[in-house]
Symmetry: C3
Subunit: 360 residues, 3 copies
C-alpha cells in the first residue's frame, strides 16, 4: 500500500497534500491514524451539534433495540472516517464535488477503533489541464475488520504541473441511490420494542407519505470555535477551516465551515419532525450548494422522496429523504429550485439520504 | 401519559411548542428522550464552566466518601433533566418565572440513564388573557427508577388564542425552602474521611456563620460558543439561545444565555470560598434578575442565610446559601438590594439553595 | 504540609493568591484537588487542539506498543498537573518566567487520578524590592503514587509589602537539559511492532539529522472560547485568561491565552513532519516570547538539536527538538533570531524538549 501522507513535500518531512498527478486508478491508500471513539467524542458531538436522537444518547434506549449500548452517532462515524482520508486525498482540493453510494455498516460502539482506506476509482483531467477530478472509494473498518462505512467521493485537485501528461480518463458509474437490498441492517437490531414517544415523536414509517414536506422550524447559528472544534475532533486538517490569516486572502475572505458540520446541523435540526429516523442507512448523494461561514444561521426542511420496504423486515422500513439546509432563511415555505431550475440562493446543502424508522 | 412533544404543530410533523391552552391540571408529561450521562459529559461540563469541586472530578476523592466513583456534577444533572422538559413545557415560554422545592436525590454516576416526567400542578390565565402561568413538578429518574431530582418550576406561556376559555385558576402552595428533614442524604455517603484541604479549602460547616458574606473574587466572561455548547449538551432546544437571526428581531437583539448556565458559572466561581460545599442538596428558589449575553463577565458573592443540622448526622451539616451573580461588576462590596428594595442593576441571579458540607 | 490555597485572603474564606513573602525555601505545597482523567478529557483535548498523534487516540495502536490502551496525551497530563499548582503558586504571578528539568514518567490512562505537590526550591527578591522570583519543583503522581510528571518552574510574584524583609536569596542550579540517562522510559513499552505509516509518516529516528529544520506548514487560529475551554478543562484558574472586563484595563487590554495552550497547538501542528514523535519524554526549557490573543493564528517550525541514543534500547531513540511557534506569520523561512540576537517579533514560543521515536 502507498501512503501518500508520508510522501515528502517541498518542506522536508512535512507535507502539503497531494496533487492530481500523484494518483493512479487502482491505487490504494491506507490512511493514518486509527482512532478509538469514546463516550467523550459522543458527548462533544452532542455539545457541538445539539443532536437529540435517542439511540446514540441512551444506553437504555439502545438496549430496548437489543443493542449492547448506545452506538456512536452515524455522522460522527462518517466525519471520523472522512477526516482520516483528508491528508491523503483532499488537502489541496479546490472543491469537494460530491459523494455517492455511501452505506453505513456495523454500528460503532464506544471503545471501537476505526481505520480507513481508500481506492482511487476515477481520474479525469479537466479541459484546462490545470486541475483534475479524482474519485475515491473509502472504507472505514473497526478493529474486527467489519466495515462500518463505505462511500465514494470525488474532488477537484490542482495539478502540480499543468504540462504533466494525464492518464486516460476514468469516470466510475455511480448508482443514483443505494438500492434497498444493499442497505445494511445491523445484525441483532430488533425494533419491535421501539418506544416511539420516548424517542421524541409518535410518527413512524407508515405515517410518512412520499412528497410530504417537513419544516424543521429551528435555526442554529454557527460560531468559529464550534465548527473548528468539531472539525478538529474529527482530525480533519483541511486548512480552509482553521486559518483566519490565509482565509483572509482567499476567495471568500473567511474560514469556511466544513461541509460535514453543516450536514450534522441539518440532521440535528431534523429531529423536529423526524425524531424516529433513528439510523442513517445510506447517503445517496449530496451537494454543498454554498459555503457556510461563522455567524450564519442554519435552517432545514425535508421531503420524503421514497418509502422503501425492507426485505424480510416487518418491524422497520426505510425512508429516502431530501434534506435541504439554508442559511439566514427560515424554511416554512420550503426554499427550493426556482422556475429557472436554480436553487434558492439561501440553500447551502441538498442531501439525499436514506434513514431507518420503526413501522410502529 | 400524554406526550406533548409529539403533538403535531402548524408545520406538520415538527412542532413549535405548547401554548397555555394545551395544559390541564393533573396532566402528566413523559419527556423524550432518556439520556445516558458519561465521563464525556462530565469533562465537557468542566471545560465549559471551570468547575473545580473535588467530588465530581475525582474517583479517589469519591471513594474516600465511600462512593463507588466520582458522581456527575449536581448541576449537570439538573440541566439534563431540565433540558428534557423544555420541548414539552417551555419552548414557547415568554419567561421562566421561577423554581422551588428542588431536591437532589440519588447520585448520578457515569453510565446512568436519566428520564424525566412532569405533572402540571398549576394554571392561571393572566389578566390580559393573552398569556398564562403554568406550574409543573418535574422529576428526573435513573434507570433503576430512583429519583435523582425533583423540582417545581413555573413559566409564562402565550395563549394560542386569547379568546379561548381558561380553566379555573390553580396556584400551588410552594414551600419557602426545602425543610432539613426533606433533604435527601445519598445512601452510603460517609464524610468521616473527607480531606478538606485536598478539596481546596480547610473551612468546614462549623467555620461558617449565619450572615457571613463571601466574595468569590473571580470573573468569567461568557462567549456565544461556550453557552451554546453547554445548552446543546443538555439538549435544551429553547430557541432564544441559538438563533442569532431571530434574536436580532427580539426584545434584546441578541441571543440570551440559558439561565442555568449562569447558575453553573456562579456555582463554579463559588468554589473560591465554598470549596467544601461538595453537594447541592436543594434549590429553594431562584430568580434570574436580568438576562446575560455573550461578552458579559459574570461574578458572584454568597451569604450564609441558615445553618442546618442534619438529623442523626454528626459528620456533616447543611448551609443555606444565597448566591448573587452579577455581570460586569466585581462583588467585593456585595451588590444587593438598595434602600428602595430594588436589586442592583448589575445583578443577574439571586439563588437560594442548600449545600452539604463536612462538619470537620 | 501547608496548603496555601486554604489561607484566608482579604475577602474572607475566598483567596486571591499568594505573594512573595508567603513562601520559604523547603516549604511543601499539597495542591487541591485530585483529578481523574477520562476519555472525555481526551476527546475534548483533541477537539480543542486538533492533535493527531496516534498513540493517545487509538487503543489498537497503543496495544501494538504493548500498552493496555491509549494513554492520555502527555501535554494534557502536563496541563492538569500545572493547573493544580496555579492557585497556590502563580495566581498573582506577574510573569511565568520559565520551566526546566521537566520529565514525563508513568503513562496516565483514562481512570487514573492525578494529584500534585510542589516544593519551594528558590527565592530571590528583585532589586526593586517590589517583586521576587519563586522557584518550585512540582510533581504529579497517580493513585498508585507513581510519578507521572516532575518539573521546575519559576514565576515572578509581587510582594504584599515592598518593605517586608526578604530571605537570603536561593537560586537553584538547573540542568541545561534533561540528560538521556534521566529520561523515563515507561515500563512495558515495546516499539518493535510500531507501524510508522499507520501513525502518519514513515520517518523514524534514524531519518532525522541534527540541524534539520521542518516547517509544520499549517496554521491554527485561536478563538476566545477555545482557549478558555481548554484552560478551564485543566482547572487552571489564572484570571488573565478569563476576564474580559479586568483584561481591558490591563497592559494588553485583552485576555491572554494560557501559554500551555500555545505549547499544545505547536505540538499538534508538529504532527505534520514529526508524526512518529509519539511521546514527549522531557521539556528541557521553554520561553513564551510574546503573548497570544484570540484572533491570532499560530504556526510552528522545528529544528532537531540533538540525536540521543537510549541506553539498552535498540528499538527507540530520542530527539531533542527546538519548536518555535509564531503568530500571524507562516514558517516556511523559519523565523528565528536576527543578527542582533533578538527573536523575530512574530515568535511567541521557543520550546526545547525531547521526544521518543521508533528507530524503525
Amino acid at each position: 500500500m502507498t501512503i501518500l501522507g508520508a510522501a515528502p513535500g517541498p518542506f522536508g518531512k512535512s507535507h502539503s497534500g497531494a496533487f492530481f498527478e500523484d494518483f493512479r486508478v487502482g491505487q490504494e491508500l491506507r490512511h493514518a491514524a486509527p482512532r478509538t471513539l469514546t463516550t467523550g467524542d459522543a458527548a462533544l458531538y452532542v455539545g457541538l451539534t445539539g443532536s437529540r436522537f435517542a439511540l446514540p444518547c441512551s444506553d437504555v434506549f439502545a438496549r430496548s433495540l437489543r443493542l449492547p449500548r448506545a452506538p456512536i452517532d452515524d455522522l460522527l462515524v462518517f466525519h471520523v472516517v472522512f477526516g482520516r482520508t483528508v491528508p491523503d486525498v483532499s488537502l489541496n482540493a479546490v472543491a469537494n464535488l460530491g459523494y455517492a453510494a455511501c452505506r453505513f455498516g456495523a454500528f460503532v460502539f464506544p471503545g471501537d477503533t476505526l481505520a480507513a482506506t481508500s481506492t482511487v476509482i476515477g481520474l479525469k483531467e479537466s479541459s484546462n489541464r490545470e486541475t483534475g477530478v479524482v474519485h475515491v472509494r473509502s472504507i472505514g473498518i473497526n478493529q474486527r475488520g467489519e466495515t462500518v462505512l463505505d462511500y465514494v467521493r470525488w474532488v477537484l485537485l490542482r495539478k502540480r504541473d499543468p504540462a504533466a501528461p494525464a492518464p486516460d480518463p476514468v469516470v466510475p458509474e455511480l448508482p443514483e441511490r443505494v438500492a434497498p437490498a444493499e442497505l445494511e441492517l445491523p445484525a441483532g437490531l430488533d425494533v419491535t420494542r421501539y418506544a416511539t414517544g420516548l424517542a421524541g415523536a409518535r410518527h413512524c414509517w407508515q405515517d410518512y407519505d412520499v412528497g410530504e414536506r417537513i419544516d424543521h422550524v429551528d435555526g442554529m447559528t454557527v460560531e468559529e470555535s464550534c465548527h473548528m472544534t468539531a472539525t478538529r475532533l474529527y482530525q480533519n486538517p483541511a486548512r480552509v477551516h482553521f486559518n483566519r490569516q490565509t482565509a483572509a486572502a482567499d476567495r471568500f475572505g473567511r474560514r469556511i465551515v466544513y461541509g460535514g458540520h453543516v450536514i450534522s446541523l441539518a440532521r440535528a435540526l431534523s429531529f423536529n419532525g423526524l425524531a424516529n429516523a433513528f439510523r442513517i442507512a445510506a447517503i445517496n448523494g449530496g451537494r454543498h450548494a454554498a459555503p457556510v461561514f461563522a455567524g450564519d444561521t442554519v435552517y432545514a426542511w425535508s421531503e420524503v422522496t421514497e418509502k422503501l420496504e425492507l426485505p424480510g423486515r416487518a418491524d422497520l422500513g426505510a425512508l429516502r429523504l431530501r434534506t435541504v439546509a439554508t442559511k439566514d432563511r427560515a424554511c416554512a415555505d420550503f426554499p427550493d429550485r426556482g422556475p429557472d431550475g436554480r436553487l434558492d440562493p439561501a440553500v447551502v446543502l441538498d442531501l439525499d439520504y436514506t434513514v431507518l424508522m420503526p413501522r410502529g
